[in-house]
């Protein structure tokens, strides 16, 4: 039997580097939050990576559960190549109309069946008000670290620019102006799951395995 005296995996203390407070989040999360500092910390291979943490103000009545999504403010354009085969064609450059790209940070199952809140919010360019005053809800359920969200954001831009099911693909030129982790208020539908804000689609509990744990963490 082999024993090792040192840590085979590097451990990172989940304490806010700014204020020293314990970071909030579920045990399985990869992004934790410091509520007093309003900062989200992604656990990356080289340590903690800080990004602003915000919560959106609920606009609809009813109990809400705040699910985390990455929100990128970008300047982006997509260069779509012309038709292939036959005569070819000139490259068409389309500008991404909206300033925001959303990437779902919580564990989402059945993306192709139930839909993706990140994609929906990117297409709709939902305008929500940031909660300025008061305490933030406890961040919980953020599984996707910032670096991985950065890999997904260009694909969301591509899908939003050409909303057809079939597109010719293309090259995304994207300049990221700012990134933050947004706690988005989803309307709680009891045992039927949650509904996206501003009249978006509903997601059953099976689509969000961490829903019960997030509700417990936020006291909903």
């Amino acid at each position: 039997m082999e024993t090792t005296g040192r840590n085979p995996a590097k451990l990172i203390a989940l304490a806010c580097p700014a204020c020293g407070a314990d970071l909030a989040g579920l045990a399985v999360d990869r992004v934790f939050g410091c509520v007093p500092c309003r900062t989200a910390y992604s656990v990356e291979t080289d340590g903690l990576r800080a990004d602003p943490l915000v919560a959106w103000e609920p606009e609809e009545p009813g109990p809400h559960v705040f699910l985390p999504l990455w929100e990128f403010e970008v300047d982006a354009s997509v260069a779509i190549p012309g038709a292939r085969g036959g005569s070819g064609g000139a490259e068409r450059v389309e500008r991404f109309a909206g300033p925001r790209v959303w990437v779902t940070a919580f564990d989402l199952r059945g993306r192709s069946r139930f839909g993706d809140p990140g994609g929906n919010l990117t297409r709709r360019q939902a305008e929500l008000r940031i909660r300025k005053a008061g305490r933030l809800p406890a961040p919980a359920g953020a599984r996707l670290p910032r670096s991985a969200a950065g890999d997904i954001a260009p694909v969301q831009v591509l899908a939003a620019v050409d909303a057809r099911v079939d597109v010719l693909g293309g090259r995304v030129d994207m300049t990221v102006r700012s990134v933050r982790l947004a706690l988005v208020p989803f309307v709680l539908l009891g045992d039927a799951g949650v509904r996206e804000p501003s009249g978006g689609p509903a997601y059953p509990p099976a689509a969000i395995p961490d829903l019960v744990a997030v509700r417990r963490a936020q006291g909903v």
């Binding site: 039997m1 082999e2 024993t3 090792t4 005296g5 040192r6 840590n7 085979p8 995996a9 590097k10 451990l11 990172i12 203390a13 989940l14 304490a15 314990d22 970071l23 989040g25 579920l26 045990a27 399985v28 999360d29 990869r30 934790f32 656990v43 990356e44 291979t45 080289d46 340590g47 038709a83 292939r84 085969g85 036959g86 989402l108 199952r109 059945g110 993306r111 192709s112 993706d116 994609g119 599984r143 996707l144 670290p145 991985a148 890999d151 997904i152 694909v155 969301q156 591509l158 899908a159 050409d162 057809r164 099911v165 079939d166 597109v167 010719l168 693909g169 293309g170 395995p209 744990a213």
Partner: protein, 369 residues
């Protein structure tokens, strides 16, 4: 087997961590601060699928399913004597990632035609002319933006004869089984967790292989361990011990082994010999016709060889049935018959093989000549 023991220290106070940080963020018993592994693939949070079949239900289900599945002959139904019924957890490595990118789709194979029909009257007669022209259409879009979840589960243990390959945690969950986060006490109450002898990198490797589409990449790969509960029954039939596995979530029987009914041996052997005799007779009757039309020594030789092959084939079947004990094995949803202690090839088979080989050699020589 070499087990690797790791000692984890709290990065804040240096105390030894009692909980396993590879299962997620864990608190230090001394300072209370939580810590997490920096490498997402170094952590593999455990969860388990709640068992739905208790001990008494499992015992009843085994008796019923052994007969229903056809693995235990109905005549031996009353002869089962349970020896041991043990619960166990089978660990599965589940790798998960998001596949992103653009995937090229093959071009559509359809050809469109435009049909023009014209009716003309010439004299009193009417003629209809139809003209078909290929319709030009723009090149169809041939790519699709992909943003999809991919998942791959691999059993972390090798247990031949357990039927583990037919257990699928993902399918169980999609059919309504409930998954719970790891609770050591609850898990221990059901049974022992089988020691893993396959690493989680196998699941990651297979996931990368499945998602091997050009233009896509796997983002945010993660690992988790899912424990699937099973019941393992050892039972005695006709003085011999046999094992069977019962899936403790859905009550299915993935693997079982039972003896063949000995009383069937002689009738089956007689049936084989009977079929051989019937074919022998049929071939013999056809011989007169062949001799009448073709004649010659080579026809006689061919007929004699065919008869010998038939007799040898069915004779070897009959010999196997009489000579060797047989067992029925349930694996992958089908029941197969296996001879116990039977050599890879019996004497009759070796004789047949050498005869066929000799014939083939003779044929080749004739072609060469």
């Amino acid at each position: 087997m070499t087990a690797r023991l790791a000692r984890f220290q709290c990065p804040t106070c240096g105390a030894l961590l009692r909980s396993d940080p590879t299962e997620g963020a864990v608190p230090c018993d001394y300072c209370g601060r939580r810590s997490a592994t920096a490498d997402p693939l170094a952590s593999s949070p455990r969860s388990y699928i709640a068992p739905a079949v208790d001990r008494s239900s499992a015992a009843l289900a085994f008796r019923r399913l052994l007969v229903e599945s056809g693995v235990l002959p109905a005549s031996l139904r009353g002869g089962i004597e349970p020896v041991d019924l043990r619960p166990a957890w089978v660990p599965f490595h589940v790798a998960r990632a998001i596949r992103v990118g653009v995937v090229e789709r093959p071009p559509a194979e359809t050809i469109d035609f435009e049909m023009d029909a014209a009716v003309e009257s010439v004299g009193g007669a009417r003629s209809v002319s139809i003209r078909a022209t290929r319709r030009e259409r723009p090149e169809p879009d041939r790519a699709k933006v992909v943003l999809a979840d991919v998942e791959c589960a691999v059993a972390a243990v090798r247990r031949p004869g357990w039927g583990i390959e037919s257990l699928a945690p993902g399918a169980m969950l999609s059919r309504g089984a409930s998954q719970r986060s790891h609770d050591p006490d609850e898990v221990r109450r059901h049974g022992a967790v089988l020691a893993a002898d396959i690493g989680p990198e196998e699941a990651l490797r297979r996931l990368a292989g499945e998602a091997g589409l050009s233009g896509t990449t796997l983002v945010a790969p993660s690992l988790r361990t899912v424990l699937v509960p099973v019941w393992r029954l050892r039972y005695r039939v006709q003085g011999c011990l046999y094992d069977a596995t019962l899936d403790a979530v859905e009550g299915r029987l993935p693997a079982a082994r039972a003896p063949e009914d000995d009383r069937r041996r002689i009738p089956v052997a007689v049936a084989y010999v009977g079929v051989a005799a019937l074919l022998f007779g049929l071939v013999g009757r056809g011989t007169w016709w062949l001799l009448a039309t073709a004649g010659g020594a080579h026809v006689w030789l061919a007929i004699a060889c065919a008869m010998l092959v038939l007799l040898g084939l069915f004779g070897s079947y009959a010999w196997d049935v009489v000579r060797y004990d047989a067992e029925r094995v349930l694996s992958g949803g089908s029941v197969l018959s296996e001879y116990v202690n039977r050599p890879r090839s019996t004497g009759v088979q070796r004789l047949l093989e050498s005869l066929l080989e000799g014939l083939a050699r003779a044929g080749r020589r004739r072609v060469e000549d």
